[in-house]
């Protein structure tokens, strides 16, 4: 390094990026390449940028993100599997001035918690739902989820998802966009820098919407689950682009309470 001392570089005016203080220093347990970590960081950054750390209550799911409360430096509640929207409903109704969000996987939100999800959306609860769709049950070791694609392999669809036997993949995001209680519904991804930027904007909008009191905002983030899919992180992202995005197209589905025309 020659004669340059670290003190010559680490100066306030040279600072271009730092970890948000809303993220703790705890080491995340996520697999390398998984989207959960990025999604956590974006939510934390938005909370810092909006300056709402002291006014935000997060509800964690049962799934890979069950320990999210170890990583975000905000008050959090751990809900039973699928019940986060019901839990968040009460939190928001009792403290309407606070920002309340749930963070849920596809098994949590679209299988065991279908009723809680649909009814929180339909009541137009003034909360934000972050929905991580990795097409699989990550936490329990890669079983089929309601979002698992047709012919996609998982440990409980080892020969591929057979529609005759296992039914069709469920597009919960499109489904809840139809309900009058939802105000903003969008689908994002976090596998490239440009997608990360778009996802962050969506997260910010979804949280800011709570001030408008016009209904529920839902941000789906399509993510890989490389260990569940039995691929390398790079392969998994490629597979996601080629297989997940055609069925789960990215973009806004409902904006300001109106469905977006998706040709």
């Amino acid at each position: 390094m020659g004669d340059i001392e670290s003190g010559d570089i680490i100066k306030d005016e040279n600072l271009v990026y730092s970890k948000t203080k809303v993220l703790t220093d705890n080491v995340m347990h996520y697999c390398p390449g998984c989207g959960h970590g990025t999604a956590h960081r974006l939510i934390a950054e938005v909370i810092e940028e909006m300056d709402i750390q002291s006014e935000t209550i997060g509800i964690t799911p049962v799934g890979c993100a069950v320990l999210m409360y170890n990583y975000l430096d905000i008050d959090m509640q751990e809900a039973a599997h699928g019940r986060a929207p019901a839990v968040a409903t009460a939190v928001k109704r009792l403290m309407p001035e606070k920002f309340v969000f749930t963070y849920q996987g596809d098994g949590d939100l679209a299988a065991i918690g279908t009723a809680e999800t649909i009814h929180a959306c339909n009541r137009g609860e003034n909360i934000t739902v972050f929905f991580i769709n990795n097409g699989i049950y990550g936490m329990t070791g890669g079983q089929m989820a309601p979002t698992t694609l047709v012919n996609m392999m998982s440990s409980t669809s080892p020969y591929g998802r057979d529609v005759q036997m296992m039914g069709n993949p469920l597009k919960m995001t499109e489904l809840v966009a139809q309900l009058p209680g939802t105000f903003y519904v969008t689908r994002q991804a976090v596998h490239t820098p440009s997608n990360v930027r778009k996802a962050k904007k969506a997260i910010r909008k979804a949280l800011e919407n709570q001030k408008l009191k016009k209904g529920l905002s839902l941000v789906e983030i399509v993510s890989n689950c490389n260990s569940g899919w039995k691929m390398s992180p790079v392969q998994a992202n490629q597979w996601m682009v080629e297989n997940m995005f055609p069925f789960y197209p990215l973009g806004d589905i409902k904006l300001d309470g109106k469905l977006v025309n998706q040709e």
């Binding site: 905000i74 008050d75 019940r83 839990v87 009460a90 939190v91 009792l94």
Partner: protein
């Protein structure tokens, strides 16, 4: 100022919740307790005290709303009847595991399955032994009148917050539906300050609050289990409530709670008019169970008869309490049938004959 009214048991619970300064009620309709939600909707507690009332999409959602509200340090109540209480068991074990205070009212009807809408006491095991998975207990109060339906709401909230534990009012369709006069407590203000553990938003001056029942480290989980057990032992030392009627000179003892205890008071009169010296012990807390007073009485009486509207559930706790010191028999009716005072006396006379 206390106020005298004529009300159904279910309505008394609802009115008492408003007056106790409850912050929220979440529920789902089911006979014979729908009047709780109906009364609350009619009364507009939102205007009276700011209390939140919401009809949930299911009992599962309702109990998880209770979890969310309780985790914010609020006074939250829900009510249901047997099939709905079965659905709430998941939420209740999470609430117990996260050490949250709340009040749950079970207006029991006969089962199993959809059963009947008539009163029963067949959910005793579910209420006092845990109900959901894992080692935990609810603190269980058993009212015998509309007055106690009202009184136990305030008491239940106090106990729930004292122990950070879910409290259940275990009653039945008879008490829920019958009308009696009731002295209602005066209106208490809702809380304005919340417990230090509540998730009310992490202010700069404190660490974040986390409400969870998860602990992946077995050693830590066992430590937590021991802490819960210590809490239950403390309840057993400090919170046992019961009533004794005519026990001083008793040769025999009836043991009954709730509606059955009400009927047994008449049976005691009838039996005494026949020259049988019988008393009644009425457990008011079912967990913690009045083990000590029963054990003491076991040394003085010749037999005990547990009277329940079930196939015999509480009788097991009576037997454990007396530990073989005296004969304990059970008399019960099921399916929504309420026993008459006379048939209880008949059962008592059979027990006496057996002993001779």
């Amino acid at each position: 100022m206390k106020e005298l009214k004529l009300m159904k048991g279910n309505e008394a619970v609802a009115e008492a919740a408003i007056r106790a300064g409850a912050d929220a009620y979440f529920g789902y309709p089911i006979t014979p307790q729908s009047e709780v939600l109906e009364y609350l909707m009619m009364e507009k507690p939102h205007e009276r005290t700011g209390m939140v009332v919401l009809q949930a999409e299911s009992e599962v959602a309702a109990i998880n709303m209770v979890y969310g509200g309780a985790a914010c340090g609020r006074k939250v109540i829900t009510s249901s009847s047997s099939p709905g209480i079965s659905l709430k068991q998941e939420g209740l074990t999470y609430i117990a595991g996260a050490e949250l205070p709340c009040l749950v009212v079970n207006v029991v009807r006969g089962g199993p399955g959809l059963g009947t809408i008539q009163p029963a006491q067949s959910d005793y095991f579910q209420a006092v032994k845990g109900g959901g998975h894992g080692d935990y207990h609810l603190l269980v109060l058993a009212p015998q009148s509309v007055q106690e339906m009202s009184d136990f709401v305030g008491l239940g909230f106090d106990l729930a917050f004292r122990y950070r534990n879910p409290v259940m009012i275990l009653t039945d369709g008879a008490i829920g539906q019958m009308m009696e006069k009731v002295w209602l407590d005066e209106q208490k203000p809702r809380m304005t300050e919340f417990p230090s553990w509540a998730t009310t938003g992490k202010s700069a001056d404190r660490e974040r609050n986390i409400i969870t029942s998860l602990e992946l480290d077995s050693a830590k989980q066992e430590k937590f289990n021991l802490k819960l057990q210590a809490k239950y032992r403390k309840m057993e030392e400090e919170e046992v409530r019961y009533e004794k009627i005519g026990c001083e000179d008793a040769d025999y003892l009836l043991v009954a709670y709730g509606t059955s205890a009400r009927i047994c008071q008449k049976s005691v009169q009838i039996a005494r008019s026949k020259g049988i010296k019988v008393g009644l012990l009425r457990p008011i807390t079912l967990f913690p169970f009045p083990k000590k007073p029963l054990f003491e009485l076991a040394g003085r009486v010749r037999g005990m008869l547990a009277v329940e509207m079930s196939a015999g559930q509480m009788v097991e706790d009576v037997r454990l309490a007396v530990n073989g010191k005296v004969i304990v028999e059970h008399y019960g009716r099921m399916g929504g049938i309420i026993p008459s005072p006379d048939e209880i006396v008949d059962a008592l006379e059979k027990l006496i004959k057996k002993g001779e």
